[in-house]
Symmetry: C2
Subunit: 160 residues, 2 copies
């Protein structure tokens, strides 16, 4: 197993990968972007083992990418929302999505991100290909192909 | 250990992380961008165990992100160059770098990327902040702080 630090590396990429380099971690962040906040919903949407999810959510809170809030008292229940530091990962997610659509997926892309306001596609600099606007995470929606019935599902990032 | 695939996930991000989600893999790609081609140089620049490096280079070749070329016959020696698929990871690296400089590194950023032609800084959409040009990987240079003597080292991506 890899150590969690790279001693000889004072490198922003290496440091970032120490925090979010774990694959499940990045998928938890992806889910948080699409508005998922509750443990059960992360679990259902990711199909991830509960122990692994508990660990990754805990690390993301410890690293300041998610904050944990109680939303119910009896019994006590918590939800997880992206902090500003977490929201700033949006360009990383979009870059991974763009590369994956081009090189890692066969057939049509499972998610197409588009500009909420005008419906234009989003280019690899996160600019709207129709109106030219520079887009932030809350300016877009995602059209998800649903393998079950073929009807797309629209999701949008939820502001924390 | 995580499985290398996420069955329930037809997702471009998940698929991309299956290929490049390993942290050393991404650092090998980073080095390849900055012109490193030979085993010994990857090894020296990354401070990575030879067995791990052999494994990661092999996977990157198998996944089509690097190509392996013989540059010497006696004894046989190979070098590794990014393919187009590998070069397309540049936006991912830049997004990781930008996030890391902002959130993961204390003090001045260890690498500053700038537009080769006019010297302008690069924003988080990979546009030149001075002249406004949309930048590709071969339009930039990196200024690396050298912890040994304090003098910066300039590196630039080498086209394959």
């Amino acid at each position: 197993m890899l150590p969690r630090s790279y001693e000889s590396q004072r490198c922003s990429i290496a440091k970032t990968l120490e925090i979010v380099g774990d694959r499940w971690t990045m998928l938890v962040v992806r889910e948080a972007f699409w508005g998922t906040r509750r443990f059960e919903h992360f679990q259902r949407n990711l199909g991830i083992a509960r122990t692994v999810l508990t660990d990754r959510l805990g690390r993301l809170v410890a690293d300041g990418l998610l904050c944990k809030r109680r939303y119910q008292e009896h019994p006590e229940r918590f939800e997880y929302r992206l902090t500003e530091k977490g929201i700033d990962l949006w360009p990383v997610l979009m870059a991974l999505l763009t590369w994956g659509n081009r090189h890692a997926i066969e057939g049509p892309p499972p998610v197409v991100v588009f500009h909420r306001e005008c419906g234009g596609g989003v280019d690899d600099r996160r600019m709207c290909m129709r109106c030219g606007a520079a887009l932030g995470p809350y300016d877009v929606r995602g059209r998800f192909a649903d393998p079950a019935d073929g009807h797309p599902v629209i999701r949008e990032p939820r502001a924390s």
